[in-house]
């Protein structure tokens, strides 16, 4: 009995903090999403209407919301594998015994993570400038016609993806490096004695041993990439033709630009659904592999 009381004593501060700073606001936001809380309601609560699921219905009828969702899924579907692939590749290269100046490259590759997004965005805007950009200059040397990277609705999202991947891959790279270093050397030695090629060693030693790290990184990256906001905010402002407008950006506009807090809360919960779904699937995959 005493032990149970003590346990509660330890748990209660954390639970209280979570309740006050997480559960309560989430419940508040959920309640908000069933109302049309806006500027008028801010002026006078009598202007507040309980609208039930109307916010959700209206969002599902809004073409721009679907476009934002499509853009976000595009960003996640391309950006997450690309980002994880880059991180893993860089970690493998740095972890290889033939690599020289490891410390230097590790720092250099991690540097984008700690740079200020806004400052870097300014440089990227120039790099990808249609007429003066270094990227188009290099393409021009290879006799490729200039690409309107940030102005063409088809190219803007790929550019944002490149930018986000470059900015973020260093973080996962460090996690992967830690994971790689934890793999016992003996396993590779045994595989080599059995005659396994480098590729086979990667597939049958590295990947399984990195399993838990991989699923952790996948879940974190995915949840982060679903919440795309800052990159288009500083690079394109959601344009051109709303081709880089993400769900979170859409919510930001609804809530903080137009002050439709009811509708914005509904967007937040609609975004929560796919994140929850994909995370659940990834977790299940990870668990089933552990069991097997």
């Amino acid at each position: 009995m005493n032990a149970r009381l003590a346990a509660w004593g330890f748990v209660i501060p954390a639970v209280a903090i979570i309740a006050v700073f997480f559960l309560l606001p989430v419940m508040g936001a959920l309640a908000l999403s069933f109302t049309d809380f806006d500027l008028y309601a801010l002026a006078d609560l009598r202007n507040l209407r309980f609208v039930g699921l109307h916010n959700y219905e209206r969002l599902l009828e809004t073409a721009l919301f679907w476009q934002a969702l499509g853009n976000t899924l595009y960003f996640v579907a391309v950006g997450v594998p690309l980002s994880i692939g880059m991180s893993l590749g860089a970690a493998l290269l740095l972890n290889s015994s033939v690599t020289r100046a490891t410390a230097f490259f590790r720092t250099a590759l991690f540097a984008p993570v700690v740079t200020t997004l806004v400052a870097v965005a300014v440089i990227w805007r120039y790099l990808f400038h249609t007429r003066y950009g270094l990227v188009n200059y290099a393409l021009g040397m290879a006799h490729v016609a200039p690409v309107d990277w940030l102005g063409n609705p088809h190219w803007a999202m790929p550019t944002i993806i490149l930018f986000a991947v470059w900015k973020n891959f260093g973080y996962n790279m460090v996690i992967f490096m830690a994971g790689l270093q934890a793999i016992p050397r003996e396993l590779y030695e045994a595989a080599r004695i059995d005659g396994a090629s480098g590729w086979r060693q990667f597939l049958h030693v590295t990947v399984p041993m990195l399993g838990p790290t991989l699923s952790l990184v996948a879940i974190l990256t995915m949840a982060g990439y679903f919440q795309l906001f800052a990159e288009p905010y500083v690079m394109t402002e959601g344009g051109p033709l709303q081709s880089t407008l993400s769900v979170l950006y859409f919510m930001f506009n609804e809530g903080f630009k137009w002050w439709n807090l009811g509708a914005a809360s509904a967007v937040a919960f609609l975004l929560f659904a796919p994140i929850f779904l994909v995370t659940a699937v990834l977790l299940r995959l990870a668990r089933s592999r552990e069991v097997a």
Partner: protein, 459 residues
């Protein structure tokens, strides 16, 4: 937001004014939403209590006015204040600078938390919004008794932006309107020695300039993510942009379709490049290079062009009033106004500060410091302004400025207008289908407003 007043400057300042840390935390946003909900209820109650105490105790203690100034004007208003404090012993002024990018959010949160200052300079397109919040003090009685603020001395279009349902809620402080900046030398090369006064004439010039400029250079620049140029051209039509007392969109009428057709034509014919500001980080340098000849912009660019263009181009450019469908056209009535918040503690003292800042002599000094243009005709008679060749066109244009529809949702609506215009330029909608769709969206945005107006009618 304030983007509409000074998009370029706001863009330049975005970096230092808005903290951004990676991907925004969704939970934090939710928490913010919840807090606003709670605060809205609390704010109303605290406000009542506060009001009662102020009325009950009237002291002769020195008065400190809390003023928020938006934008870089805050730095330049400070040197004007010692004179005010000298003339008004017992009144001191405390200034807080608020960057435009954060101003809207900060004002609304301050409203919810009952933390609004005594005075601020409000973008005049925000007045309907704060009027809807019932946050502004009507100024008619003060104006009637004033020796300084003379309504007829102000440009009528600008003054009108401060009137809501018959009451005056703000006093214009400095003005903003959009007109033509153009390269005189490039226009002369194309065979014209004067700026255009009608759309037809302008179209002939645009075609000639484009032919003369050749591929890779253009006759005008209309960034597709910037609404003020299209808005200025739309205000030139006789039809209002909203109908039924601001209850519904009115974009599918002949007037707006004419404007949008002209706008789209400028891209279709290759007179304007299909670009947004993200691709033109430095429009001043591009103007200097002759990338475009005509540019629709506002008063702050007089100073920018003077500073940024090379010396040999200093006489190659100038300004001109905006051409209209048939003869000199209207433009938008922008700028900021000095307002007193309803729960301000020392309204008479605040009014004295407004009067001081509205004196023509103060406005001239303020113009010297900032380059901002004054809203009073008497201030414009000063040689500082009347002899400024670039300001001349603004003086003329200011007699022909029109307010935008006075509904709190306007900022949202005008952004939807620009988004649709970009879609039409890209060929995703025809002018007719696009304007009809725009009306449908605007009607949806105004649904709450219709409900409120109807209810007010029946109650």
């Amino acid at each position: 937001m304030a983007g509409w007043k000074r998009p370029l400057r706001v863009r330049a300042r975005l970096e230092d004014s808005k903290p951004l840390s990676g991907l925004i935390d969704r939970r934090r946003l939710l928490a913010g939403a919840g807090a606003a909900w709670v605060a809205a209820g609390l704010g109303a109650r605290i406000a009542q209590a506060d009001d009662a105490t102020v009325a009950g105790t009237k002291s002769a203690r020195p008065v400190q006015l809390r003023c928020w100034f938006m934008g870089h004007e805050a730095e330049f208003v400070a040197p004007l204040l010692p004179e005010f404090e000298r003339r008004n012993p017992g009144i001191t002024v405390a200034i807080q600078q608020v960057p435009w990018t954060a101003a809207h959010e900060k004002l609304l949160t301050a409203f919810a938390a009952d933390g609004l200052p005594d005075l601020c300079n409000l973008g005049n397109t925000w007045i309907p919004e704060f009027a809807a919040l019932n946050a502004l003090e009507p100024l008619d009685a003060y104006i009637a008794a004033s020796q300084v603020v003379a309504p007829l001395d102000y440009f009528p279009g600008i003054w009108d932006t401060n009137r809501m349902d018959g009451a005056v809620l703000g006093i214009p402080w400095y003005v903003d309107t959009r007109l033509l900046f153009y390269r005189r030398d490039l226009l002369a090369q194309a065979g014209f020695d004067h700026p255009p006064s009608t759309w037809n004439e302008w179209a002939r010039m645009l075609a000639a300039v484009k032919t003369n400029a050749g591929p890779g250079r253009y006759a005008t620049l209309l960034p597709l993510n910037e609404f003020p140029p299209l808005l200025a051209l739309a205000l030139q039509q006789a039809e209002p942009l909203l109908r039924d007392g601001g209850r519904r969109g009115n974009f599918s009428n002949d007037g707006f379709r004419r404007t949008l057709s002209f706008y789209v034509e400028m891209f279709r014919r290759g007179w304007a490049p299909m670009l947004t500001y993200s691709q033109i980080p430095n429009p001043w340098a591009e103007f200097g290079r002759g990338f475009f000849t005509f540019y629709i912009s506002g008063p702050w660019n007089i100073e920018e062009f003077q500073h940024r263009l090379p010396a040999e181009l200093s006489h190659a450019w100038t300004t001109a009033p905006l051409p209209g469908p048939d003869g000199p056209g209207a433009s938008s009535a922008g700028g900021t106004s000095l307002v007193i918040f309803r729960f301000a503690r020392h309204k008479d003292a605040v009014w004295r500060l407004i009067e001081y800042l509205s004196e023509p002599a103060t406005q001239i000094r303020f113009h010297q410091l900032t380059g901002d243009l004054p809203p009073r005709r008497s201030a414009w008679r000063d040689p500082q302004l009347s002899a400024n060749e670039y300001a001349k066109a603004f003086r003329e244009q200011l007699e022909r400025v029109k307010p935008t529809p006075k509904v709190p949702e306007w900022e949202n609506i005008v952004n939807q207008m620009q988004e649709m215009a970009a879609q039409v330029v890209a060929g995703r909608f025809s002018v007719d289908a696009g304007t009809q769709e725009l009306d449908r969206r605007v009607d949806a945005t105004l649904e709450k407003r219709r409900w409120m107006l109807d209810r007010r009618h029946t109650v």
